[in-house]
Structure formats: C-alpha cells, structure tokens
Amino acid sequence: MNGKILSMQQAVARYVGDGDSVAIEGFTAFICFAAAHEIIRQRRRDLTLIRMTPDLVYDQMVAAGVAERLIFSYLGNPGVGSLHCIRRAVEDEIPHPLALEEYSHFGMVGRYTAGASRLPFFPLQSYAGTDLPAVNEKIRFVASPYSGEEIAVVPPLHPDVAFIHAQRADTAGNTHLWGLLGMQKEVSFASRHVVVVVEEIVDEEVIRRDPNRTLIPGLIVDAVVHEPYGAHPSYVQGYYDRDNRFYLDWDPISRDREATEAWLEEWVYSVADRAGYLTQLGDERLAGLAPGRMVADGVNYGRYD
C-alpha cells in the first residue's frame, strides 16, 4: 500500500486551498458529492468551481458559500428544472455574488482538451453568430491557413485540482472507468493535482489484465480515496442508479434559503464523513438503487512470452 491512499478528509485538506480552482467532473454520472461535502465541511472559501454541468453538487457548494466564481456550460437540475441556489447567488447575490464564466459544452470539452494536451488553443465549429463571444472574451476566432475560413477557439484550462469518481483503481491510482466517460480523462490530464475516488480498490493485476479500460494512469494521480457510494445521489454505472427522488426533493428545498441551510446542517455539517452520510441515508434507500446485472464478455489479450 503506497502513500497515495488517503481519506477524503485528508485529500481535501491536502489538495484544496482557499482560492483554488476545483473541478469535480462527471457528466450527469460519477459526480463526487463526497468530495463536495468534505470541501463544505472544511469551510473552504473563494473557490473557482469548474464543471460542464454544475448540477446539484455545485448548487449545494454555492449555497454553502465556498465559491466566488463558476466556469460552466449548462446550469440545470437535469430532468427536473433550475439550480435555485446558484440562481439566488447570480440574481440576488445570496449568500454573496458569484462570477460566471460561460461556455457551451463543446467549448468546455475544448478547454479541457487543450489543457490536457498543452495546446495554446482548441479549434471548434461553434459560437459564430451568437452572443456568447460578446460576454466571454476568452472565446476567439482564428483563420485557417488553408481556406481562410474563421473558426472559433478556446484556451486551455488547468484546474488546481480535479476530483474524479470511478468504479475501481489500484493503489497507484491506475483507474478503470466504464459507462459515460464524460471528460474524466481530459480533465485529469489538464489538472495540476488529481484525486481519484473509487468504489473499489483492486489489485494492480485487475487493471493490467485490461489496459484499454484504464482511463487515468497513476502517473498523474496524487491521491486515491476509497469511498463507496461517494457519488450518491448521482450514479456509478453497474454499482448504483441515480437517486432521482433526491433530485426531485432538492427542487423545493433549494427554492428556500432556510430549507437549504437546514439541509446542509443535517446532511453535511452534522455528519463526520461519507460513512456518516450513508448511515443517515439508510441501507434500504441504497438497496433500492442496485441495478441488475449486464456483464461484458471477457476478451483475451493473449500472453506473449
């Protein structure tokens, strides 16, 4: 067991400082609420929060007052409605103002990719003829040296730290992820520090028997946190389903500032860690999220010696 295995409390204490830029990614899946709640508990401030879809995870963090800036592409409670806490911050400066830096999904995809690839810019067919470049000076245009046609570009993005949830990793941080890959690989390569949070820690041989499934190499991983159900109420493919009841419940809670603070008190501040959160949630609630089995057929890589 090497030194990369940390508790979430240790990982946040070590890799998240006031004023840092933090990316808790995962497109509608693998959203590491466990990391978000620990950051709230440790009362970080003035963070720049980076996510394509801020989702409930950043709605909660903004309500808790940890953020001063948001870099994103879609502000919504997927399938339900608005993110009321973020709207309160933007529309009414509650609990305090929140600066927005806004892209389209493809723009965020491009910023992560340019960051991961050490490119000065990423070209994409978007933005021309819209009002987005007028409100974000980082969106610019370059002329092709072949056709002369103009194409939009976005600059690299380098979060100070990324929290990436996945199914399994070995103790060195070599990580297998299956299902929606989102931009987990690119944001990891783009970030200065990477914390991988997994449902299971597995033997190195499990990873090496399927190297094409390795999305993130331990080489770029600073810490590995073993946190089962760490993505609840979002989901982990093959491990648990999205807890949609919570996504629906959050709508009325988040519309009301006091109800939101009461929720944060009950589910974040007054629990010590993820284990405490899960105990409070109850086994029955978790059992109801278990999917059936659909197992991929094994493939033979062959032994060549």
Binding site: P78, G129, Q237
Partner: protein, 252 residues
C-alpha cells in the same frame, strides 16, 4: 379523442422525424418523441445523446441525458470529445431537436438569460450543447410551447443560431448545418420554407385560429396561404406514450 397539449407536440414531433437516420436527442419531450418514432415508423433510427452515447436502446424512460439505461445495451459509448468532434462536428447527425425560453422569427434561440446578461431578471441554464448543435446538425426541429413571452420580436440573448437575420445568412457565415426546418408547438406548426427563411404558420391545433396564434406571437406572423389542421394522436400513439414511454405521466 382526449389528449394533452404535450401529447400533441410529442406525436407531431415523432411524425416529423420520419426518414431521419441519426437523431440528436434532448431529454424530456424530445426523448419521448424520438422513442415513439423508433417504435412506430422508424425502427432503424439511431439515438445520439450529448453524454457520449450512440445507438441507445433505453429499457426505461431516461431520467436525464446521462441516465445509465442509455449506456447499457448501447451500440457505442465514448467520451464527449468524440461525441462533439466525430459525431456532431463530423456531420453524422441528421437532425437535432432543440427548445428554448425565447425564439424569434428566424428560429434563433435564447436559453441564457431573460433581461440584461450582467444583471439578469432570470438566469437560464445557458447553451449546454445547443449552440454547436444548432450550427453542426444537418437540420433542426424546434419543440416548445407557444406562449407570448417565448415568441418574441427580439431575443434578450442569442444562444443558438437559427437562420440569423434570414435569407442565406447561414451559408454566408459558413455553418455546416441547414438550421431550423420546423417549429413544433402545442398550438401550431411552423416551417421556414421561403427565401427569407422566416417562420411560417402552416398548421393549427383544432381549437386555434390564425388570430389566436398571432395574439401570442411578438411579430407580424407570416401565414401559409392554406393553413391545415394539426393531426391529433392516434389511439396507438397515445397508448404507447401512456403505457410504455411515460407511464408516470411526467410529461403529460
């Protein structure tokens, strides 16, 4: 036969999808419409979701565009870089369904803010993938409820380009996709089949008139010489929606 405004939109959207192979799907009404189309006239239709899924075979109504039921049993699931570069920008999407909080006569859409950008009255979700979908997809079907606050003379913010200022503006700016072809609402259907590429009223829901629609549209509406009546849902379509696609009636 009794049906809701949503059901009328869903069946009309599903019928409009006939003959399209690859459809870029949003969640909610568009998702039900696409799945209805697959189960009726277009079994070969391939569903693409911006979450990175191609050829989804959802076993249940997806709760979001990232629902795990979209992954299990899909043809291919890659990262979002592949989805946006190889599939969307690569030109493989035949049609995409979009909606918005505001639309103008040329099918330009606003999903960003109501009011001033810096001091918004209402902060909307923003683009998501809509901006590049509107530019790169082969064509666009717009699905939204027809309301006065939505069909406006001038957008507060242009998030996703339709036909811009009309005419051949899209070709001038060099967009790969052809832009909005239809607007499907709960009270009327529109197309853009004219050289100005201006939204034109072509079908009315039974209880609507040209006047009742004009009353909720913020500009002098262009009307097709012979406006037809929207065809309502068939019993088969209704039972498929109510029994299979949206049993809880989330989108009733």
């Amino acid at each position: 036969m009794d049906y809701s405004a949503s059901e009328l939109m869903i069946v009309n959207a599903a019928r409009a999808l006939q003959g399209n192979r690859v459809v870029f799907v949003g969640v909610g009404l568009p998702n039900i419409a696409c799945n209805l189309a697959r189960r009726t006239h277009s079994p070969e239709m391939e569903l693409v979701y911006e979450s990175g899924v191609f050829g989804a075979r959802p076993a249940r109504l997806p709760l979001s565009i990232g629902d795990p039921t979209l992954v299990s049993g899909a043809t291919a699931v890659g990262n979002m870089l592949d989805l946006f570069t190889l599939y969307l920008q690569g030109g493989l999407v035949d049609v995409a369904l979009l909606g918005g909080a505001q639309i103008d006569r040329y099918g330009n859409l606003n999903t960003t803010v109501i009011g001033d950008y810096e001091q918004p009255k209402v902060r909307l979700p923003g683009s998501g993938g809509a901006c590049e979908i509107a530019i790169n997809a082969g064509k666009i079907f717009i699905i939204m409820r027809l309301r006065r606050r939505a069909f406006v003379e001038a957008l507060d913010f242009r998030t996703s380009p339709g036909h811009l200022d009309g005419g051949d503006a899209r070709q001038q700016i060099g967009y790969p996709g052809a832009g909005p072809e239809r607007v499907i609402t709960d009270r009327a259907l529109f197309n853009f089949d004219n050289t100005e590429r201006e939204m034109t009223l072509v079908e009315l829901a039974p209880e609507e008139t040209v006047e009742s629609i004009q009353a909720d549209v913020g500009w002098a509406l262009r009307v097709h010489p012979n406006v037809r009546t929207m065809r309502g849902p068939s019993q088969d379509e209704l039972s498929m929606i109510r029994e299979e696609l949206d049993p809880q009636g989330l989108y009733r």
